[in-house]
Symmetry: C2
Subunit: 124 residues, 2 copies
DNA sequence: CGGTATCCTTCTCGATACTG
DNA sequence: CAGTATCGAGAAGGATACCG
């Protein structure tokens, strides 16, 4: 079958790698971590206190994922007891704009969405 | 410790309702459904074929969520057998820009992310 | 065609306890 | 302080069968 490029002008599609990256970076805890670290670098327990109510396990997982994807940096100071600081990377700050766009969208459209929900829930 | 309101100029935070809305609308299948319906209205089984490889259950769930949140419209024609068409709403199209922004971000930064992953995976 | 209902497996996530 | 390890409950999601 010879496709003649009729779909050439279509918008790009979400492929598996894109999807996977978004999943790693837009999940519940990661977004809140990014928000916090955009404000200022912070230590593990500072983040824990700042994000209500994340468990150690979930926070660790989110930080590792973000670190692996190059969004945050983990800086260890080998004092006693040891200090670990997390800070956002340049790559991470590019996510901040996206975060703002997401937040902006929800803010602008929340009222419409809520009306739609009421309509939907009523007619059931 | 007396906070003097120094955080007054801070960026808005993701609250639970915002978070919830994003979850309902940015999940794996919903994004692909929105992509499809942005191109053209489609019927249930058309969507099913267009999105590899979604199960009936997952597709139904995604469509119901999107419908409830006002992103897609379900149009039933009572023929025999009955025909159901799904189409994107004006509210749904506002999501399209966001989708583009997400896709653009992943496209631009994918290479950096992959380098970061390799670096991380190597040093373990 | 366009679904629902049910079962069953997988994965997530919190709670808890322990460590360098 | 900054985690790791382990367990169990619950939710997500696929496979299958059936219905108007």
């Amino acid at each position: 079958m010879q496709e003649t490029g009729l779909a050439a002008s279509e918008r790009p599609r979400i492929t598996a790698p894109h999807r996977e990256l978004l999943d790693q970076v837009l999940d519940k805890w990661s977004l809140q971590v990014l928000e916090e670290l955009c404000e200022q670098p912070q230590r593990f327990n500072e983040l824990r206190r700042a994000i209500p109510v994340v468990t150690q396990k979930s926070l660790t997982a989110a930080l590792r994922r973000l670190e692996r994807n190059g969004m945050v940096e983990r800086v260890v100071t080998s004092t006693r007891p040891l200090a670990v600081q997390y800070r956002i990377t340049p790559l991470g700050t590019t996510l901040q704009e996206l975060l703002d766009a997401l937040l902006c969208w929800t803010t602008v459209n929340m009222a419409d969405v809520e009306r739609a929900r009421e309509r939907y829930d009523d007619e059931v």
